[in-house]
């Protein structure tokens, strides 16, 4: 990937259904087994429609888009500024999207707007901006 191949407005997305298996693996990985993620009755008692995914599980799906698609395999994350607006309920199908907002060519940086929303209702779960760079172009 080079900056020349990227343009403001370039966009990629993917749809993902959040499963109990994903939540279980992620909970083990980060050692977060809070009952709101695993105990249906507890989660409902907290006012949710079911167990909810870890917020960082949801936001981590954005990382896959960044590294695999846009900007692509040569890029690394420098900064993320995310807001978690609503919880993702286990079983929800979500739409993850990244779009290039600005290219700062002098330092090899790409600013992207990112979002995760419900595929069917457009309810926004996560939104924000991420700055990536392409090593080798940076270090002005």
């Amino acid at each position: 990937v080079t900056l020349d191949t990227l343009s403001v407005g370039d966009v990629v997305s993917k749809n993902v259904t959040i499963t109990s298996g994903m939540i279980s693996i992620f909970g083990d990985l980060i050692d977060d087994h809070a009952p709101v993620h695993f105990d249906q009755a507890f989660a409902v008692g907290q006012g949710f429609g079911g167990t909810i995914a870890h917020g960082f599980l949801v936001s981590s799906l954005i990382s896959g888009l960044l590294g695999e698609k846009l900007p692509g395999p040569s890029s690394v994350i420098n900064e993320s500024r995310l807001k978690f607006h609503n919880p993702v309920i286990c079983g929800d199908t979500i739409r993850c999207e990244v779009i290039i907002d600005r290219i700062v060519s002098s330092v090899g940086a790409i600013v992207l707007k990112v979002s995760v929303s419900n595929l069917e209702s457009d309810l926004v779960f996560v939104s924000g901006t991420v700055t990536c760079s392409i090593p080798g172009v940076m270090n002005a």
């Binding site: 900064e79 002098s106 940086a109 270090n139 002005a140």
Partner: protein
């Protein structure tokens, strides 16, 4: 006159410098440069330039950045590009 405008630019840039380098009391002067700020490394340099471009809506070239030896040079360049610190 240009110096006065540059000082206005310095004041406009100061919140960005303080945020990027996590130094809430940092005073941005014309003489400030990377040697004066402990956290002014390559990654924070990227963050700094990104934030300044976002503030000013001015895109810099690599040559412009290489020509700068301190923040004063940067402020003068921004003034020359039409940014007066009131974005």
């Amino acid at each position: 006159m240009e110096s006065k405008m540059s000082n206005e630019v310095l004041r406009a840039l100061e919140p960005i410098f303080r945020d990027v380098f996590e130094e809430p009391d940092l005073v941005v002067t014309r003489a400030l440069n990377a040697n004066d700020v402990e956290k002014w490394d390559s990654l924070n340099h990227i963050a700094l330039i990104v934030e300044i471009e976002m503030l000013t809506n001015i895109s810099f070239t690599i040559d412009q950045l290489l020509d700068m030896s301190d923040v004063g040079d940067f402020a003068d360049m921004l003034v020359a590009e039409g940014f007066l610190g009131d974005a």
